[in-house]
Symmetry: C2
Subunit: 196 residues, 2 copies
DNA sequence: GCCGGAGGTTAGCGAGCGCTAACAAGACGT
DNA sequence: ACGTCTTGTTAGCGCTCGCTAACCTCCGGC
């Protein structure tokens, strides 16, 4: 609604140069870490070479910044959309889990980058990402507490983080077809939460 | 029995210089990533300055290598010890979960480093760490399949990774006293596995 | 038919980093 | 008393990396 028109979170395909660069960079950052990837590597990954990237981004840090803030915003938006849909509390929770699982399975590189290199962000960007993440966690806390009785805020927050860890572990283990992996992760996540 | 006598996994306190350096380095690597930490930073953290570290380690990579292999070996040894103790399958699983939770809560920096910077390891070290980790996963797979009926290898392996992610998430969320956090993680982990 | 902007190229700068070299000072066995 | 081993110091080399400068080329509008 505000800056970019639709924000389909990159999605390959037609994608302008900026998006193309961001997806390539995400893949590289995920594999080698932020400092382990050079400007030239990113350029090479999209077929142009080195400093041409500065026609599209102000700095290497700006790439990471845009990457992480767009992820966080996408998750927050999606999370809020699911949380606001009224219905059975258990079903809302299941939908939220499914949403996050789906994201983790379709964008493993982004998951890895977000976990790994928040520390490499410039101060301003890091504050913004942190804020978005906090709000996303709060969405989960509300939904969890509605579905699982007898959990105080602190326990619900810890449980939310734990479930993120569970779901986000998926880039480290892809020995199952996607649909089976998704089904398993959903069962595990919901099993964990209902045992809390 | 082979190289080092007892291998108490560092543990601060008396600890020789090498161990002191490794713990300091782990903390820094966890905060800023491997490439984000300079030789001088590590030296400063233990009160000596810069190149003095080369009296104790052959290179910066060697520090990371020793750090990660010792973690992996500690986990594998502990895991096998718990798995071999016979008794109720559920109780063995619970003990294994408790073991890993305990490790994650007492060594959050090591957890973070192991997740984050496997990619920064030299080839030889990385192969060794990978091998140790694989064996640790296999311990879990056996214990899980004994306690949870109807899981094939692949599903059990995915579930193991997911539970690692769940437990290892604890460095990102410390807003609960340690004992409550441990109890919660145990419940979540076992809840997840029994729902698999 | 020109011209300005968009998006590339290569050359090279300045800074930071891992690591080595050369040297100093205390502990200690003989 | 002396040499040697250990563990520290500072200076500095060489390389890599992020980024800028200067230049080229295509392309669409008037």
């Amino acid at each position: 609604m505000s800056s970019t028109p639709t924000t389909p979170l990159v999605s390959g395909e037609k994608a302008g140069r900026r998006e193309q660069i961001l997806t390539a960079a995400a893949e590289l950052f995920a594999q080698h870490g932020f400092h382990g990837v050079g400007i030239d590597d990113i350029g090479a990954a999209v077929g142009i070479s080195g400093p041409a990237l500065y026609r599209h981004f102000r700095s290497k840090d700006a790439m990471l910044g845009e990457m992480l803030t767009s992820i966080s915003r996408y998750l927050l938006d999606g999370g809020e959309a699911h949380a606001e849909r009224d219905g059975d509390a258990d079903e809302v929770l299941a939908a939220l889990v499914r949403f996050h699982v789906d994201f983790a399975l379709t964008h493993p590189a982004l998951i890895t980058v977000q976990e790994r290199s928040l520390a490499n962000l410039a101060d301003t960007d890091r504050r913004q990402v942190r804020a978005l993440q906090r709000r996303y966690v709060e969405v989960w806390v509300r939904v969890i507490r509605a579905a699982v009785p007898g959990l105080d805020q602190a326990h619900a927050r810890s449980a939310a983080h734990a479930v993120f860890g569970l779901i986000n572990s998926t880039p480290h283990s892809r020995h199952l077809p996607d649909d089976q992996q998704a089904a398993l992760l959903e069962r595990l996540a919901l099993g964990a939460l209902h045992a809390a």
